[in-house]
Every structure is written in C-alpha cells, then in structure tokens.
Amino acid sequence: MSEASGLAAALAGIASLKTAEAPDAKSGCQGLHTVGREAIVEVGRVFREAGYMLEMLTALDMRAAEQAMHVVYQFNRFGAPDRHRVRVVVPAGEAVPSLADLFGSANWYEREAFDMLGVRFDGHPYLVRILTEEGADYHPLLKDFGVAPAAAEEAAGG
C-alpha cells in the first residue's frame, strides 16, 4: 500500500497533472490523469521508478471536437492491476516528447501511433512507419482518411 501512496505523492508533485475523480469499474482503470505534454517524461519516470510498465500507448483523433490529438498512455504494474491512464492533449500537428528512453516498448508503440495517426514524438531514435506499406503518405486512422462510415454503407448497398 505504501508503494501506491508513494506513487500518488510523486504524481501530486507534478504541477500540470490533473487526476479525475475515482473512475467507475467499467473503464478498467484505477486512475485517470491528464497532463501537459512537457511533463509526460516526468510522469513516465515516476511510473518507471514505481515498477510500472507501459502497457499501452495509442492516440485518438479528436480534431473534430477539440482541434487536438489525444495521446493515451496506460501504465500498469505486475500483480494485482493498478492501471493508470494518462492523457496528453496535443494540438494537431505538434509533437510530444518521446518515452523511448524510459520504456523499451514505447519505441514501437510510438512508431505505431505515428504511422496510424501522424502524431510525432520528439526525441524518438527512429520514428519511421512501422505497419503501412513503404512509401505510404497517409495516416489511416485519422477520421478524415478514407470513406466516411455513412458513405461506406451506401456504397456497400446497405
């Protein structure tokens, strides 16, 4: 328990970190946080020192509603889950500091987020496309890529 409270204290020391009220069980998380992008490396270091792993990293295209991309980091520890979802809101087209120095897994996760959604990560050692074909010039998971769902349904005859 002391470990968890140590983590909470360390997280409270980060100025731009805002922690939401206790999330409900459906979210699958024990803690939801939002942090400014300049502090994400600090947050990563806190979690790393507490023995947490970077379980998931992805991005969301929220440009329609907020003109911003959300980068979602999910930290978890081994054993009984203590899952913390940390969100960084970044204006479209701007970069986020990379966690690749802290977590080995961040290297590929960030490449994937770059490939799929075009989020750039500052300080990444090798930020190139990972999944799409060579020479691709698109970021497929952006909402304005491809056909809108309604149009797709029409085209499929549905």
Partner: protein, 174 residues
C-alpha cells in the same frame, strides 16, 4: 475395354505383336511430362495468415496432402512448382509475393486459398487501404478455393482440380 484372349502358347513373335498393338506410342512429350508434373506438385512453404494454419493442417497427420504427391513443401521459391497463397496479401506484402512468383521456375501454378486472395474477403470494404483485394491483381491464379478459411479438404480438392488442369495441358504461364 474389350478383353483380349491370351495369345496361344505357340504364337510367333509377329502374331504377338499384332495382338498387342503398336509398341511405340507417338505423342507430344509435353503430355507425358504433364502427367508427371501433375502428380508431384511441390508447394512453396509460404503462409500469409489464417489460411496458412489450415494449409499446415492439410499437410499434417490427418489430411496428409502427401497422398497426392503434393506434400513436399519447399522453403525456396526456386524449387517450388505451385504457390499456395494462403491468407491476406497486404499491400506491403504484394511486391514480395510478386518477387517470389518471379523466382519460381516455369512451369508454375498458383492457388488462391481463401476469401482474401479471391477478392479481399472479410477485409474488403470501401476505403480499405491495407490489402491487395485479390491475388489475381498481382499474379495469374489457376484455382480459387473459397472459404474463410477453407477446410483442409477444400484445399486438397483444389489441388486435385489443379492436377486435372495440368493433365489437360492447355494452359501454361511462362
């Protein structure tokens, strides 16, 4: 076929030959070769996705593709006769498939196994960016086997169809 009575014991050589018909058959050599080719198809060890598991199952104990002479999977394209395209061809993989096909020596055949290699199968939708919708957009395909994935029996059936096609000797990709 009409039963021919056995030749009498004291028959002369000339009489025997008349009864047996011509000893020398004249035919195109290609037809003879095709008989041999059809019965020893060597597939390329090449799995793309889910269908590859069913291809392995077809080669393993229960289904045993080797009964039809096509169980000798070759890891090198240079030794293979038939390419079984088992699984989705992504756009990144497309050029690789083409390169492998070009490396195979003629005569060669291709089997498109599963919906993905026929037309994109379950991954086909307007706006799909990641896959090649149909193997025949890259290489010529001889036999199509539908299913997602096709059962091993279906693959064996496809191979037998390819055998028939080869024996018929009408089509070659050079």
């Amino acid at each position: 076929m009409k039963e021919t009575p056995p030749p009498p014991a004291n028959a002369t050589t000339e009489e025997l030959l008349t009864q047996l018909g011509p000893l020398v058959h004249l035919d195109v050599l290609e037809n003879l070769l095709n008989q041999a080719r059809a019965r020893s198809l060597w597939p390329l060890t090449f799995g793309l996705a889910c269908c590859a598991i069913e291809m392995m199952a077809a080669g393993a104990s229960r289904f045993d593709m080797d009964r039809f002479g096509s169980g000798v999977f070759r890891p090198s394209a240079r030794q293979a006769d038939v390419m079984i395209l088992a699984g989705t061809i992504s756009r990144k993989m497309g050029p690789v498939v083409k390169a492998l096909w070009d490396q195979m020596p003629s005569p060669k055949w291709a089997i498109a196994m599963g919906g993905c290699t026929i037309d994109g199968g379950p991954f086909k939708y307007p706006g799909q960016y990641a896959i090649v919708e149909g193997a025949d957009k890259i290489i010529p395909v001889d036999v199509y086997i539908p299913g997602c994935p096709p059962r091993p029996e279906a693959l064996i059936n496809g191979l037998l169809m390819l055998e028939q096609k080869i024996k018929a000797g009408k089509k070659f990709h050079v």
